[in-house]
Amino acid sequence: MSYSQKVLDHFNHPRNIGSFEKNEKNVGTGIVGAPECGDVMKLQIKVENDVIVDARFKTFGCGSAIASSSLATEWMKGRTINEAFQIKNTEIVKELSLPPVKIHCSVLAEDAIKAAVEDYRKKKVAGV
């Protein structure tokens, strides 16, 4: 199996590594795991007026899991939370040219995005 140049680029120069303070009211956090392979992804977004102004990730997993989450943070920045919620794993597969055995990494990234947005929405409704 070989990785595309884009995967290697994200893997070598991951964008937006790190984390935000989880309890801040304008931060949404999504932590997801793939039980079948043990990968874990944490995606966080910082939101102002429903627009994602910043994003961070930390991932325990293979090269394509790292690349998928790195790409996800890049794509989320500047989008509204509703737009980010629409990001599909298939778009990630296409952008990174993921091989079939690594498609589950993109699924994980999509789920992490959705989890982060949902977390933010919940906080907003609760008025924390």
Binding site: P14, I17, C37, T59, F60, C62
Partner: protein, 392 residues
């Protein structure tokens, strides 16, 4: 950038002397050794010379060597050929839980055909206690197969003691010596084995030539039926260039074994100590009873795939101890059998030295490794938290 090759357990480079020995048989000397004309007779002689040289490496007689295409074939041959020939005596086989898949899966195949298989466990260092082998023996045991050294974790087994147990019970004992033969002394009479697998590409010979030693007088069913080559036990036109290469490589391995081992050990110890001095990096396998060029480590909070990839980008070729190439990611059966925790097993890499490695290369690896590990640990979300949501 020059590649630093630390994956000799997967394959070794061909020595120039071996390549030279093979050259005439790739160009010009093409006659089939079974042919009766002069070209055939000449090549039959070359075949027998290679057989003698290969036999010398393990202290055997030429007639006890059956050439095969690879270690996997020889292991399958040993398991199935020996079991079938002694079926009347019984249908029970003993193997260890850390054998190569060519033994374990052959055992599973035999199980489907009605054999019983006992898989002897190993301790934390990957060592098979000969006493456990003794306990596994049943009245109908016909074959024991325990590897000489494990290629994944490097641990050496107490073959002589296990052979003694087998002998006391009159049971055939085969050892898979693929990882050890040509690197450390592997004498069949000293070890006391009835059958042994070796392969040329582990001692600077070519891929495509391997051998099964079977002690003279041991009953064995043919593996390939056909024209009757290899005393009728393994028919098929011989891969002469590769076999000649194997003979030459065996000759060199035998004459240079001591000096090779001395230099490998020196490099290995420095590499091993340097790697495990990095925080939360653990050695797998036995600390001293291990192959001279072998280091297996588990790196906490890191996945082996990105670690391998990062080292590769820095010009260092190593092997991964586990493979996440499908949805069902499993850590190595060897590490599992040794009780290495799953999370730790996932960060396993295997570094195996060869005779071409130099001190400067070890310095480069020891300089780069901690940096790569530090970078990957920053990237990682660990430990895996309780609140992880399941995906689909």
């Amino acid at each position: 950038m020059e590649q630093i090759y630390l994956d000799h357990t997967s394959n070794t480079p061909l020595l120039p002397e071996v390549r030279e020995a093979m050259a005439p048989y790739l160009h010009g000397e093409f006659a089939n050794p079974s042919s009766l004309h002069r070209g055939g007779r000449k090549n039959a002689k070359a075949l027998e010379e290679a057989r003698e040289k290969t036999a010398s490496l393990i202290g055997a007689r030429g007639e006890e060597i059956i050439f095969t295409s690879c270690g996997t074939e020889a292991n399958n041959f040993a398991m199935k050929g020996l079991a079938a020939a002694h079926e009347k005596k019984g249908r029970h086989i003993v193997v260890s839980s850390i054998e190569h898949f060519s033994i374990l899966h052959a055992a599973r195949r035999l199980e489907r055909q009605g054999y019983r298989v006992t898989r002897v466990p190993v301790d934390q260092a990957g060592w098979v206690d000969p006493q456990k082998v003794r306990e596994a023996i049943a009245p109908d045991t016909v074959l024991i197969s325990i590897m000489h050294a494990n290629g994944e974790v490097g641990t050496l087994q107490s073959i002589r003691e296990i052979a003694q147990v087998a002998q006391e019970h009159g049971i055939l004992f085969h050892t898979d010596a693929v990882s050890s033969c040509g690197t450390i002394p592997t004498n069949v009479s000293e070890l006391g084995v009835a059958a042994l697998t070796l392969t040329a590409n582990q001692f600077y010979g070519p891929v495509g030539a391997a051998a099964l030693y079977v002690r003279k007088g041991t009953k064995m069913l043919p593996f390939f039926d056909g024209g009757g080559q290899e005393e009728g036990r393994r028919s098929g036109t011989e891969n002469l260039p590769a076999i000649v290469g194997m003979g030459k490589a065996a000759e060199l391995a035998l004459s240079h074994m001591e000096e090779r081992t001395t230099s490998l050990l020196k490099l290995r110890n420095r590499l091993m100590e340097g790697l495990i001095s990095v925080e939360e990096v653990y050695l797998n396998g036995h600390p001293t009873q291990r192959l001279p060029g072998h280091v297996s480590i588990s790196v906490a909070h890191v996945e082996s795939e990105p670690l391998l990839l990062s080292l590769d980008m820095e010009g260092i070729s190593v092997a991964s101890g586990s493979a996440c190439n499908s949805k069902a990611m499993k850590s190595s059966h060897v590490l599992q059998a040794m009780g290495v925790p799953e999370l730790l097993a996932r960060g396993t890499v295997v570094l195996t030295l060869g005779i071409g490695n130099r001190e400067e290369e070890i310095s480069v690896v020891l300089d780069i490794f901690p940096k790569v590990v530090e970078r990957l640990r920053k990237l990682n979300r660990t430990p895996i938290p309780q609140e992880v949501r399941s995906v689909r």
